[in-house]
Protein backbone atom coordinates (compact mmCIF):
# COMPACT_ATOMS: atom_id res chain seq x y z
CA UNK A 1 0.00 0.00 0.00
CA UNK A 2 1.47 3.35 -0.93
CA UNK A 3 0.52 6.60 0.78
CA UNK A 4 -1.76 7.62 -2.09
CA UNK A 5 -3.74 4.39 -1.82
CA UNK A 6 -4.00 4.81 1.96
CA UNK A 7 -5.21 8.38 1.41
CA UNK A 8 -7.84 7.21 -1.10
CA UNK A 9 -9.11 4.45 1.20
CA UNK A 10 -9.34 6.88 4.13
CA UNK A 11 -11.10 9.36 1.86
CA UNK A 12 -13.84 6.93 0.79
CA UNK A 13 -14.30 5.92 4.43
CA UNK A 14 -14.72 9.54 5.52
CA UNK A 15 -16.86 10.52 2.53
CA UNK A 16 -19.19 7.54 2.89
CA UNK A 17 -19.83 8.62 6.45
CA UNK A 18 -20.24 12.26 5.37
CA UNK A 19 -23.01 11.24 2.94
CA UNK A 20 -24.87 9.75 5.93
CA UNK A 21 -24.73 13.19 7.55
CA UNK A 22 -25.24 15.53 4.63
CA UNK A 23 -26.75 13.60 1.68
CA UNK A 24 -29.56 11.63 3.25
CA UNK A 25 -28.62 8.25 4.70
CA UNK A 26 -27.41 6.73 1.39
CA UNK A 27 -26.00 3.58 3.02
CA UNK A 28 -22.65 4.05 1.27
CA UNK A 29 -20.81 3.20 4.47
CA UNK A 30 -21.99 -0.43 4.26
CA UNK A 31 -19.37 -3.20 3.84
CA UNK A 32 -20.92 -4.34 0.55
CA UNK A 33 -20.06 -0.92 -0.90
CA UNK A 34 -16.76 -0.11 0.86
CA UNK A 35 -15.25 -3.62 0.58
CA UNK A 36 -15.30 -3.76 -3.24
CA UNK A 37 -14.22 -0.08 -3.50
CA UNK A 38 -11.21 -0.75 -1.27
CA UNK A 39 -10.50 -3.79 -3.45
CA UNK A 40 -10.56 -1.60 -6.56
CA UNK A 41 -8.11 0.87 -5.04
CA UNK A 42 -5.72 -1.94 -4.14
CA UNK A 43 -6.17 -3.80 -7.43
CA UNK A 44 -8.00 -6.86 -6.03
CA UNK A 45 -11.70 -6.35 -6.65
CA UNK A 46 -12.57 -10.04 -6.21
CA UNK A 47 -11.31 -10.25 -2.61
CA UNK A 48 -12.94 -6.90 -1.81
CA UNK A 49 -16.25 -8.18 -3.16
CA UNK A 50 -16.14 -11.45 -1.21
CA UNK A 51 -15.08 -9.78 2.02
CA UNK A 52 -17.56 -6.94 1.61
CA UNK A 53 -20.41 -9.41 1.19
CA UNK A 54 -19.27 -11.53 4.15
CA UNK A 55 -19.03 -8.46 6.39
CA UNK A 56 -22.40 -7.19 5.15
CA UNK A 57 -24.02 -10.34 6.53
CA UNK A 58 -22.15 -10.04 9.86
CA UNK A 59 -23.10 -6.37 10.26
CA UNK A 60 -26.57 -6.83 8.81
CA UNK A 61 -28.38 -5.42 11.82
CA UNK A 62 -25.73 -2.86 12.70
CA UNK A 63 -27.45 0.49 12.26
CA UNK A 64 -27.26 3.52 14.48
CA UNK A 65 -30.78 3.95 15.84
CA UNK A 66 -31.63 7.05 17.80
CA UNK A 67 -27.97 8.00 18.00
CA UNK A 68 -26.68 4.78 19.63
CA UNK A 69 -23.46 3.56 18.02
CA UNK A 70 -23.15 -0.23 17.87
CA UNK A 71 -19.81 -0.36 15.99
CA UNK A 72 -17.95 1.50 13.25
CA UNK A 73 -18.82 -0.56 10.20
CA UNK A 74 -17.18 1.84 7.73
CA UNK A 75 -13.68 1.83 9.25
CA UNK A 76 -13.92 -1.91 9.94
CA UNK A 77 -14.79 -2.63 6.30
CA UNK A 78 -12.04 -0.60 4.67
CA UNK A 79 -9.27 -1.47 7.14
CA UNK A 80 -10.26 -5.16 7.19
CA UNK A 81 -10.37 -5.40 3.40
CA UNK A 82 -7.09 -3.53 2.96
CA UNK A 83 -5.23 -5.73 5.45
CA UNK A 84 -6.73 -8.90 3.96
CA UNK A 85 -5.51 -7.94 0.48
CA UNK A 86 -2.08 -6.68 1.50
CA UNK A 87 -1.29 -9.57 3.84
CA UNK A 88 -2.82 -12.15 1.52
CA UNK A 89 -4.79 -13.80 4.33
CA UNK A 90 -8.02 -13.60 2.36
CA UNK A 91 -11.57 -13.48 3.61
CA UNK A 92 -11.21 -15.22 6.98
CA UNK A 93 -8.30 -13.09 8.20
CA UNK A 94 -9.91 -9.96 6.80
CA UNK A 95 -13.13 -10.69 8.68
CA UNK A 96 -11.24 -10.93 11.96
CA UNK A 97 -9.41 -7.62 11.39
CA UNK A 98 -12.65 -5.92 10.27
CA UNK A 99 -14.62 -7.08 13.31
CA UNK A 100 -11.85 -6.10 15.74
CA UNK A 101 -11.40 -2.69 14.05
CA UNK A 102 -15.13 -1.95 13.88
CA UNK A 103 -15.44 -2.62 17.60
CA UNK A 104 -12.28 -0.70 18.54
CA UNK A 105 -13.31 2.33 16.47
CA UNK A 106 -16.90 2.62 17.70
CA UNK A 107 -15.89 5.39 20.10
CA UNK A 108 -14.85 7.85 17.34
CA UNK A 109 -18.42 8.41 16.18
CA UNK A 110 -19.50 8.79 19.81
CA UNK A 111 -16.76 11.36 20.25
CA UNK A 112 -17.90 13.35 17.20
CA UNK A 113 -21.51 13.29 18.37
CA UNK A 114 -20.45 14.53 21.79
CA UNK A 115 -18.27 17.38 20.49
CA UNK A 116 -20.92 18.52 18.01
CA UNK A 117 -22.81 20.04 20.95
CA UNK A 118 -20.21 22.77 20.72
CA UNK A 119 -21.23 23.59 17.14
CA UNK A 120 -24.91 23.60 18.09
CA UNK A 121 -24.20 26.27 20.73
CA UNK A 122 -22.11 28.15 18.21
CA UNK A 123 -25.12 28.12 15.87
CA UNK A 124 -27.33 29.39 18.74
CA UNK A 125 -25.10 32.44 19.01
CA UNK A 126 -25.35 33.14 15.27
CA UNK A 127 -29.12 32.62 15.29
CA UNK A 128 -29.47 35.24 17.99
CA UNK A 129 -27.70 37.75 15.75
CA UNK A 130 -29.62 36.66 12.65
CA UNK A 131 -26.41 35.54 10.95
CA UNK A 132 -27.56 32.64 8.79
CA UNK A 133 -24.23 32.31 7.02
CA UNK A 134 -22.70 31.70 10.43
CA UNK A 135 -25.25 28.94 11.12
CA UNK A 136 -24.37 27.28 7.80
CA UNK A 137 -20.71 27.47 8.76
CA UNK A 138 -21.39 25.82 12.14
CA UNK A 139 -23.31 23.02 10.38
CA UNK A 140 -20.47 22.34 7.97
CA UNK A 141 -17.83 22.50 10.72
CA UNK A 142 -19.84 19.84 12.53
CA UNK A 143 -19.95 17.76 9.35
CA UNK A 144 -16.20 18.22 8.92
CA UNK A 145 -15.68 16.88 12.43
CA UNK A 146 -17.79 13.83 11.59
CA UNK A 147 -15.78 13.32 8.38
CA UNK A 148 -12.50 13.49 10.30
CA UNK A 149 -13.80 11.04 12.91
CA UNK A 150 -13.75 8.39 10.17
CA UNK A 151 -10.94 9.69 7.95
CA UNK A 152 -8.22 10.11 10.59
CA UNK A 153 -8.53 6.73 12.36
CA UNK A 154 -8.54 4.92 8.99
CA UNK A 155 -5.49 6.85 7.82
CA UNK A 156 -3.60 6.18 11.05
CA UNK A 157 -4.58 2.51 11.19
CA UNK A 158 -3.40 1.91 7.63
CA UNK A 159 -0.26 4.06 7.65
CA UNK A 160 1.07 3.25 11.12
CA UNK A 161 -0.71 0.00 11.94
CA UNK A 162 -0.69 -1.82 8.59
CA UNK A 163 2.72 -3.43 8.98
CA UNK A 164 2.07 -4.43 12.56
CA UNK A 165 -1.37 -5.82 11.65
CA UNK A 166 0.04 -7.70 8.65
CA UNK A 167 2.83 -9.20 10.75
CA UNK A 168 0.32 -10.06 13.45
CA UNK A 169 -1.98 -11.73 10.92
CA UNK A 170 0.71 -14.15 9.77
CA UNK A 171 1.57 -15.17 13.33
CA UNK A 172 -1.85 -15.18 14.88
CA UNK A 173 -2.66 -18.47 16.68
CA UNK A 174 -5.62 -20.40 15.32
CA UNK A 175 -7.61 -20.20 18.55
CA UNK A 176 -7.23 -16.42 18.79
CA UNK A 177 -8.56 -16.22 15.22
CA UNK A 178 -11.45 -18.46 16.28
CA UNK A 179 -12.05 -16.12 19.22
CA UNK A 180 -12.33 -13.09 16.94
CA UNK A 181 -14.64 -14.99 14.62
CA UNK A 182 -16.78 -15.87 17.64
CA UNK A 183 -17.00 -12.15 18.35
CA UNK A 184 -18.17 -11.57 14.78
CA UNK A 185 -20.91 -14.17 15.06
CA UNK A 186 -22.29 -12.66 18.26
CA UNK A 187 -22.02 -9.12 16.84
CA UNK A 188 -24.77 -9.98 14.36
CA UNK A 189 -26.93 -10.76 17.37
CA UNK A 190 -26.20 -7.27 18.76
CA UNK A 191 -27.59 -5.63 15.63
CA UNK A 192 -30.77 -7.68 15.67
CA UNK A 193 -31.11 -7.27 19.44
CA UNK A 194 -30.92 -3.48 19.06
CA UNK A 195 -33.62 -3.54 16.39
CA UNK A 196 -35.76 -5.79 18.56
CA UNK A 197 -35.31 -3.48 21.55
CA UNK A 198 -36.38 -0.58 19.36
CA UNK A 199 -39.43 -2.26 17.83
CA UNK A 200 -40.62 -4.72 20.44
CA UNK A 201 -43.68 -4.06 22.54
CA UNK A 202 -45.37 -6.71 24.61
CA UNK A 203 -48.38 -6.64 22.31
CA UNK A 204 -46.43 -7.05 19.08
CA UNK A 205 -43.55 -9.34 20.17
CA UNK A 206 -45.32 -12.51 18.95
CA UNK A 207 -44.73 -11.36 15.35
CA UNK A 208 -41.00 -11.68 15.96
CA UNK A 209 -41.48 -15.30 16.99
CA UNK A 210 -43.76 -16.08 14.03
CA UNK A 211 -41.15 -14.69 11.64
CA UNK A 212 -38.42 -16.64 13.41
CA UNK A 213 -40.31 -19.94 13.46
CA UNK A 214 -41.24 -19.71 9.77
CA UNK A 215 -37.64 -19.09 8.71
CA UNK A 216 -36.16 -21.60 11.15
CA UNK A 217 -38.44 -24.51 10.21
CA UNK A 218 -38.90 -23.67 6.54
CA UNK A 219 -35.55 -22.30 5.33
CA UNK A 220 -36.90 -22.30 1.75
CA UNK A 221 -39.03 -19.26 2.64
CA UNK A 222 -35.92 -17.09 2.66
CA UNK A 223 -36.08 -13.50 3.79
CA UNK A 224 -38.13 -12.48 0.75
CA UNK A 225 -40.79 -15.05 1.60
CA UNK A 226 -40.88 -13.81 5.17
CA UNK A 227 -41.13 -10.24 3.93
CA UNK A 228 -44.10 -11.15 1.73
CA UNK A 229 -46.01 -12.65 4.63
CA UNK A 230 -44.93 -9.79 6.89
CA UNK A 231 -46.21 -7.15 4.48
CA UNK A 232 -49.53 -8.98 4.17
CA UNK A 233 -49.87 -9.17 7.99
CA UNK A 234 -48.99 -5.48 8.35
CA UNK A 235 -51.55 -4.39 5.76
CA UNK A 236 -54.22 -6.59 7.28
CA UNK A 237 -53.50 -5.04 10.66
CA UNK A 238 -53.59 -1.50 9.27
CA UNK A 239 -56.91 -2.00 7.47
CA UNK A 240 -58.58 -3.66 10.43
CA UNK A 241 -57.46 -0.98 12.83
CA UNK A 242 -58.10 2.04 10.65
CA UNK A 243 -61.73 0.86 10.48
CA UNK A 244 -61.88 0.93 14.26
CA UNK A 245 -60.58 4.49 14.21
CA UNK A 246 -63.35 5.58 11.85
Amino acid sequence: MNTFQIFLISLITGLSYLTRRACGDMQLERPIVLGPLTGLILGDFATGLQLGATLELIFMGAQAIGGAVPSNVAIGSTVGTAIAIVSGTGVEGGTAVAVATAVACSSFETLAKTFCSFFAHWADGYAEKGNWRGINLAVWMGNLLHFLADFVPTFLALSIGAEALTALMSNIPANVMAGINGMGKLLTALGFGLLLNNLGTKKLMPYFFIGFALAAYVPAFGTMGIAFIGVAYAILYAFQHSKEVE
Binding site: G24, G61, Q63, V69, W132, G182, L186, N198
Partner: protein
Protein backbone atom coordinates in the same frame (compact mmCIF):
# COMPACT_ATOMS: atom_id res chain seq x y z
CA UNK B 1 -46.93 41.92 1.39
CA UNK B 2 -47.40 38.27 0.64
CA UNK B 3 -44.34 36.06 0.39
CA UNK B 4 -45.20 32.79 -1.34
CA UNK B 5 -43.11 29.67 -1.68
CA UNK B 6 -42.61 28.44 -5.25
CA UNK B 7 -42.12 24.95 -6.65
CA UNK B 8 -38.43 25.82 -6.82
CA UNK B 9 -38.33 26.60 -3.09
CA UNK B 10 -39.85 23.23 -2.25
CA UNK B 11 -37.38 21.42 -4.54
CA UNK B 12 -34.59 23.29 -2.79
CA UNK B 13 -36.08 22.25 0.56
CA UNK B 14 -35.99 18.62 -0.63
CA UNK B 15 -32.32 18.93 -1.54
CA UNK B 16 -31.25 20.62 1.68
CA UNK B 17 -33.41 18.43 3.93
CA UNK B 18 -31.28 15.46 2.89
CA UNK B 19 -28.69 17.00 5.20
CA UNK B 20 -30.98 16.43 8.18
CA UNK B 21 -28.35 14.40 10.08
CA UNK B 22 -25.73 17.13 9.71
CA UNK B 23 -23.50 17.97 12.65
CA UNK B 24 -25.37 15.30 14.60
CA UNK B 25 -24.92 15.68 18.36
CA UNK B 26 -26.28 13.70 21.28
CA UNK B 27 -27.63 16.95 22.71
CA UNK B 28 -29.74 18.16 19.75
CA UNK B 29 -29.63 15.13 17.42
CA UNK B 30 -30.88 16.37 14.02
CA UNK B 31 -31.58 20.00 15.02
CA UNK B 32 -28.67 21.44 13.02
CA UNK B 33 -29.76 19.60 9.89
CA UNK B 34 -33.35 20.77 10.29
CA UNK B 35 -32.16 24.35 10.65
CA UNK B 36 -29.90 23.99 7.63
CA UNK B 37 -32.82 22.91 5.44
CA UNK B 38 -35.09 25.70 6.69
CA UNK B 39 -32.71 28.67 6.32
CA UNK B 40 -33.60 29.57 2.67
CA UNK B 41 -37.32 29.19 3.44
CA UNK B 42 -37.03 31.49 6.47
CA UNK B 43 -35.00 34.04 4.52
CA UNK B 44 -37.56 34.14 1.74
CA UNK B 45 -40.66 34.30 3.93
CA UNK B 46 -39.79 36.82 6.62
CA UNK B 47 -38.99 40.42 5.81
CA UNK B 48 -38.34 41.59 9.36
CA UNK B 49 -35.03 40.72 10.99
CA UNK B 50 -36.68 39.90 14.33
CA UNK B 51 -39.05 37.40 12.70
CA UNK B 52 -36.16 35.69 10.95
CA UNK B 53 -34.21 35.45 14.21
CA UNK B 54 -37.19 33.92 15.98
CA UNK B 55 -37.52 31.36 13.18
CA UNK B 56 -33.81 30.49 13.19
CA UNK B 57 -34.05 29.92 16.92
CA UNK B 58 -37.16 27.76 16.86
CA UNK B 59 -35.64 25.31 14.36
CA UNK B 60 -32.40 24.91 16.31
CA UNK B 61 -34.24 23.06 19.05
CA UNK B 62 -34.05 19.29 19.57
CA UNK B 63 -35.28 17.26 16.64
CA UNK B 64 -34.86 13.56 15.94
CA UNK B 65 -36.65 11.53 13.33
CA UNK B 66 -35.68 9.09 10.58
CA UNK B 67 -33.68 10.47 7.63
CA UNK B 68 -35.86 8.61 5.10
CA UNK B 69 -39.29 9.33 6.51
CA UNK B 70 -38.95 12.85 7.92
CA UNK B 71 -39.63 14.55 4.55
CA UNK B 72 -43.32 15.05 5.30
CA UNK B 73 -42.41 17.12 8.36
CA UNK B 74 -40.29 19.52 6.27
CA UNK B 75 -43.14 20.00 3.81
CA UNK B 76 -45.74 20.65 6.50
CA UNK B 77 -43.47 22.95 8.51
CA UNK B 78 -42.63 24.97 5.37
CA UNK B 79 -46.36 25.41 4.73
CA UNK B 80 -46.90 26.50 8.35
CA UNK B 81 -44.07 29.01 8.22
CA UNK B 82 -45.58 30.37 5.00
CA UNK B 83 -48.94 30.89 6.72
CA UNK B 84 -47.32 32.48 9.76
CA UNK B 85 -45.28 34.86 7.59
CA UNK B 86 -48.49 35.91 5.82
CA UNK B 87 -50.23 36.82 9.03
CA UNK B 88 -52.33 33.72 9.56
CA UNK B 89 -52.91 32.48 13.07
CA UNK B 90 -50.06 29.98 13.41
CA UNK B 91 -48.18 30.10 16.68
CA UNK B 92 -44.67 28.96 17.46
CA UNK B 93 -46.21 26.29 19.69
CA UNK B 94 -48.27 24.98 16.74
CA UNK B 95 -45.12 24.51 14.69
CA UNK B 96 -43.18 22.86 17.50
CA UNK B 97 -46.18 20.69 18.25
CA UNK B 98 -46.28 19.36 14.68
CA UNK B 99 -42.54 18.72 14.65
CA UNK B 100 -42.43 16.85 17.94
CA UNK B 101 -45.74 15.12 17.32
CA UNK B 102 -44.72 13.70 13.95
CA UNK B 103 -41.04 12.97 14.47
CA UNK B 104 -41.61 9.99 16.77
CA UNK B 105 -44.18 8.03 14.75
CA UNK B 106 -42.34 8.70 11.47
CA UNK B 107 -39.04 7.57 13.02
CA UNK B 108 -40.87 4.45 14.19
CA UNK B 109 -42.03 3.71 10.64
CA UNK B 110 -38.54 4.40 9.25
CA UNK B 111 -36.70 2.30 11.82
CA UNK B 112 -38.99 -0.68 11.54
CA UNK B 113 -39.71 -0.65 7.82
CA UNK B 114 -36.40 0.58 6.37
CA UNK B 115 -33.77 -0.42 8.95
CA UNK B 116 -35.64 -3.51 10.18
CA UNK B 117 -36.92 -4.92 6.91
CA UNK B 118 -36.08 -3.16 3.63
CA UNK B 119 -32.35 -2.47 4.02
CA UNK B 120 -31.44 -5.92 5.47
CA UNK B 121 -33.43 -7.71 2.74
CA UNK B 122 -31.83 -5.78 -0.13
CA UNK B 123 -28.43 -6.18 1.56
CA UNK B 124 -28.99 -9.93 2.02
CA UNK B 125 -29.91 -10.45 -1.64
CA UNK B 126 -27.02 -8.34 -2.93
CA UNK B 127 -24.52 -9.95 -0.54
CA UNK B 128 -25.62 -13.41 -1.75
CA UNK B 129 -25.09 -12.29 -5.36
CA UNK B 130 -21.68 -10.87 -4.46
CA UNK B 131 -20.65 -14.14 -2.76
CA UNK B 132 -21.46 -15.91 -6.04
CA UNK B 133 -19.01 -13.54 -7.70
CA UNK B 134 -21.39 -11.12 -9.39
CA UNK B 135 -19.43 -7.86 -9.52
CA UNK B 136 -22.49 -5.69 -10.12
CA UNK B 137 -24.02 -6.59 -6.72
CA UNK B 138 -22.66 -3.53 -4.83
CA UNK B 139 -23.91 -1.20 -7.56
CA UNK B 140 -27.29 -2.92 -7.54
CA UNK B 141 -27.45 -2.39 -3.76
CA UNK B 142 -26.70 1.33 -4.02
CA UNK B 143 -29.17 1.82 -6.89
CA UNK B 144 -32.12 -0.01 -5.31
CA UNK B 145 -31.58 1.58 -1.90
CA UNK B 146 -31.26 5.12 -3.22
CA UNK B 147 -33.95 4.99 -5.91
CA UNK B 148 -36.37 4.21 -3.08
CA UNK B 149 -34.71 6.59 -0.63
CA UNK B 150 -34.54 9.71 -2.81
CA UNK B 151 -37.79 9.01 -4.65
CA UNK B 152 -39.64 8.64 -1.37
CA UNK B 153 -38.03 11.69 0.21
CA UNK B 154 -38.88 13.89 -2.79
CA UNK B 155 -42.49 12.70 -2.77
CA UNK B 156 -42.75 13.23 1.01
CA UNK B 157 -41.53 16.84 1.02
CA UNK B 158 -43.92 17.81 -1.79
CA UNK B 159 -46.81 15.82 -0.35
CA UNK B 160 -46.26 17.33 3.10
CA UNK B 161 -46.34 20.85 1.70
CA UNK B 162 -49.50 20.22 -0.32
CA UNK B 163 -51.47 18.31 2.28
CA UNK B 164 -50.55 20.61 5.17
CA UNK B 165 -53.96 22.30 5.14
CA UNK B 166 -56.06 19.18 5.36
CA UNK B 167 -53.63 17.57 7.80
CA UNK B 168 -53.64 20.55 10.17
CA UNK B 169 -57.43 20.74 10.12
CA UNK B 170 -57.95 17.13 11.04
CA UNK B 171 -54.65 16.55 12.87
CA UNK B 172 -55.41 12.89 12.40
CA UNK B 173 -52.61 11.25 14.37
CA UNK B 174 -54.52 8.05 15.01
CA UNK B 175 -54.23 6.74 11.44
CA UNK B 176 -50.50 7.50 11.51
CA UNK B 177 -50.19 5.46 14.68
CA UNK B 178 -51.94 2.52 13.05
CA UNK B 179 -49.45 2.59 10.16
CA UNK B 180 -46.62 2.87 12.63
CA UNK B 181 -47.80 -0.27 14.38
CA UNK B 182 -48.20 -1.99 11.00
CA UNK B 183 -44.60 -1.11 10.09
CA UNK B 184 -43.48 -2.39 13.49
CA UNK B 185 -45.21 -5.71 12.82
CA UNK B 186 -43.37 -6.05 9.52
CA UNK B 187 -40.09 -5.06 11.17
CA UNK B 188 -40.48 -7.61 13.96
CA UNK B 189 -41.54 -10.30 11.50
CA UNK B 190 -38.49 -9.75 9.29
CA UNK B 191 -36.03 -9.40 12.19
CA UNK B 192 -37.32 -12.78 13.39
CA UNK B 193 -36.77 -14.23 9.93
CA UNK B 194 -33.31 -12.65 9.63
CA UNK B 195 -32.33 -14.08 13.02
CA UNK B 196 -33.09 -17.58 11.75
CA UNK B 197 -31.54 -16.99 8.31
CA UNK B 198 -28.33 -15.02 8.74
CA UNK B 199 -27.13 -15.53 12.31
CA UNK B 200 -24.21 -17.97 12.17
CA UNK B 201 -24.06 -18.96 15.84
CA UNK B 202 -23.76 -22.73 16.22
CA UNK B 203 -21.81 -24.96 18.57
CA UNK B 204 -18.89 -27.16 17.58
CA UNK B 205 -19.09 -29.21 20.80
CA UNK B 206 -19.77 -32.92 20.78
CA UNK B 207 -19.70 -35.73 23.28
CA UNK B 208 -18.59 -39.31 22.93
CA UNK B 209 -20.15 -42.28 24.64
CA UNK B 210 -18.29 -45.48 23.87
CA UNK B 211 -17.94 -45.66 20.11
CA UNK B 212 -20.50 -43.08 19.06
CA UNK B 213 -19.91 -39.32 18.89
CA UNK B 214 -22.91 -37.04 19.01
CA UNK B 215 -22.71 -33.39 18.02
CA UNK B 216 -24.55 -31.16 20.45
CA UNK B 217 -25.66 -28.94 17.57
CA UNK B 218 -27.67 -31.73 15.93
CA UNK B 219 -29.22 -32.49 19.31
CA UNK B 220 -30.19 -28.83 19.66
CA UNK B 221 -31.56 -28.81 16.11
CA UNK B 222 -33.84 -31.65 17.16
CA UNK B 223 -35.32 -29.49 19.89
CA UNK B 224 -35.53 -26.19 17.99
CA UNK B 225 -33.63 -25.33 14.81
CA UNK B 226 -31.63 -22.10 15.11
CA UNK B 227 -32.02 -22.15 18.89
CA UNK B 228 -28.63 -20.51 19.56
CA UNK B 229 -29.20 -17.54 17.22
CA UNK B 230 -32.58 -16.98 18.88
CA UNK B 231 -31.08 -17.16 22.38
CA UNK B 232 -28.28 -14.74 21.44
CA UNK B 233 -30.70 -12.14 20.10
CA UNK B 234 -33.04 -12.53 23.05
CA UNK B 235 -30.05 -12.28 25.39
CA UNK B 236 -28.99 -8.96 23.85
CA UNK B 237 -32.60 -7.79 23.97
CA UNK B 238 -32.90 -8.71 27.67
CA UNK B 239 -29.69 -6.83 28.53
CA UNK B 240 -30.85 -3.73 26.67
CA UNK B 241 -34.25 -3.87 28.36
CA UNK B 242 -32.50 -4.16 31.72
CA UNK B 243 -31.02 -0.75 30.96
CA UNK B 244 -27.52 -1.75 29.81
CA UNK B 245 -26.08 0.80 27.38
CA UNK B 246 -25.23 -0.22 23.80
CA UNK B 247 -21.54 0.20 24.59
CA UNK B 248 -21.79 -2.09 27.61
CA UNK B 249 -23.63 -4.78 25.66
CA UNK B 250 -21.03 -4.47 22.90
CA UNK B 251 -18.28 -5.03 25.46
CA UNK B 252 -20.06 -8.07 26.91
CA UNK B 253 -20.52 -9.54 23.42
CA UNK B 254 -16.90 -8.97 22.49
CA UNK B 255 -15.66 -10.69 25.65
CA UNK B 256 -18.16 -13.56 25.63
CA UNK B 257 -17.81 -14.08 21.86
CA UNK B 258 -14.04 -14.16 22.06
CA UNK B 259 -13.96 -16.62 24.95
CA UNK B 260 -16.53 -18.95 23.37
CA UNK B 261 -14.70 -18.83 20.02
CA UNK B 262 -11.29 -19.28 21.68
CA UNK B 263 -12.47 -22.35 23.57
CA UNK B 264 -14.03 -23.76 20.41
CA UNK B 265 -17.58 -23.68 21.75
CA UNK B 266 -18.96 -21.65 18.81
Amino acid sequence: MANKLTKQDITNLFIRSNAVQSAFSFERQQAMGFEYAMIPIINKLYDKEEDRIAAYQRHLTYFNSHPWTCGVIFGIVAAMEEKKANGEDVSEANIQGIKTGLMGPLAGIGDSFFWGAFRPIVAGICASLALQGYGFAPLLFVLIINAVHFGLHYWEVNKGYKMADSFLEKADMSSLNVWMEAATILGLFVVGGLTATWLGVSTKLSYTIGESTTSIQSALDGILPKMLPLLSVLGVFALLRKGFSTQKVLLIIVVVGFILGFLGVI
